[in-house]
């Protein structure tokens, strides 16, 4: 084990379904992963937070629209505002967009069909706490499973994000109708990322790919660095 061991919270919403996989994956990467219930308003001294995939609050109204009002989300917003590391996966990405912590919005897939398969991704940026273990332009294989993963930003917002290099991951082929094949974005400061693919489901070559571990171990590294830096 590399010390110190960062403590990473996995937020649990009613309707989440990938929370245990996220907890398992982070633990397998030497983090102390702990669940945080959505009604909590105190984060137990965390070095990073992961919002896992699922169908929080039944995806009523719009995906993530209700979860963003969970008591824990206010704390997550404050944590992010202080520079805390936050990663949203799938439904977690949708929640972060609805909460205004990430740019854009996730809509129904262009095909109207649920997509569930391994997809090829291209890493656009490696100078983020979520992709430091990847190489620029590297192709990753990570599964997606979503009905509402079509990321959208209008022209003005999209141009702004391109200029500020906030697009971190793109699909290497069309998957869901996302604008310019965007699969993952960061906030301007670079401490909050959301992505539709599921790194926690790509942890072992036996299951098709271990590329997800690159994303999650980048996060574990960055969380550890924050401890060492005394943040």
């Amino acid at each position: 084990m590399t010390s110190p061991q960062p403590r990473i919270g996995v937020l649990r919403f009613p309707g989440a379904c990938d929370d245990r996989d996220a907890l398992w994956a982070l633990s397998a990467l030497d983090a102390e992963a702990v669940f945080v219930w959505h009604t909590e308003t105190d984060l137990p001294d965390l070095d990073a937070v992961v919002l896992p995939g699922g169908f929080s609050y039944g995806d009523y109204l719009r995906c993530g629209a209700i979860a963003r009002f969970a008591p824990a989300m206010e704390t997550v917003a404050a944590f992010a505002a202080e520079g805390g590391l936050v990663l949203g996966i799938c439904n977690g990405f949708q929640i972060l967009c609805e909460a205004g912590l990430l740019p854009g919005v996730l809509r129904r897939n262009e095909s109207l069909s649920f997509v569930c398969r391994d997809v090829p991704l291209v890493v656009e940026r490696t100078d983020t706490p979520f992709t430091s273990r990847c190489a620029e332009g590297e192709r990753l294989t990570i599964p997606v499973k979503h009905g509402e993963g079509c990321w959208f930003a209008d022209d003005a917002l999209y141009d702004e994000l391109e200029t500020s290099r906030q697009i971190v991951l793109r699909y290497a082929e069309p998957v869901n109708g996302s604008r310019n094949d965007v699969a993952g974005v960061v906030n301007e400061r670079g401490n909050v990322m959301g992505l539709m693919p599921h790194p926690e489901h790509a942890m072992d070559p036996l299951l098709g790919s271990a590329d997800g571990a690159l994303i999650l171990s980048s996060l574990v590294d960055a969380a550890r660095d924050r401890i060492l830096a005394g943040v």
Binding site: L61, R62, A65, E98, V105, R107, E110, L112, F152, G177
Partner: protein
């Protein structure tokens, strides 16, 4: 006072649901142009002052009922019958 909120995909935003409805209607033999699919929210608002009620429903739309990046909304107020 009752309010009805109509939430629609903004003009120019691709609406795959609307396209699916449109092609199904054509298959049924209906001569339709573009179809767009939105959402209706019926609400009871406590305020009986139309201006105040409208302002409150507008805030509801901005904060929750619509996502202003992709959706537009219209508010219809139904005033209670005067006595």
């Amino acid at each position: 006072m009752r309010a009805t909120v109509l939430v629609r995909p903004k003009h120019g935003i691709l609406d795959p649901q609307g396209q699916a409805v449109e092609s199904s209607l054509r298959q049924l033999g209906f001569a339709v142009g573009e179809a767009r699919v939105g959402r209706v929210v019926d609400l009871e608002v406590e305020s009986n002052d139309p201006a105040g009620a409208r302002a409150e429903v507008e805030r509801m739309c901005e904060q929750l009922l619509a996502n202003p990046l992709i959706e537009s909304y219209e508010i219809e107020l139904v005033e209670p019958p005067g006595d």
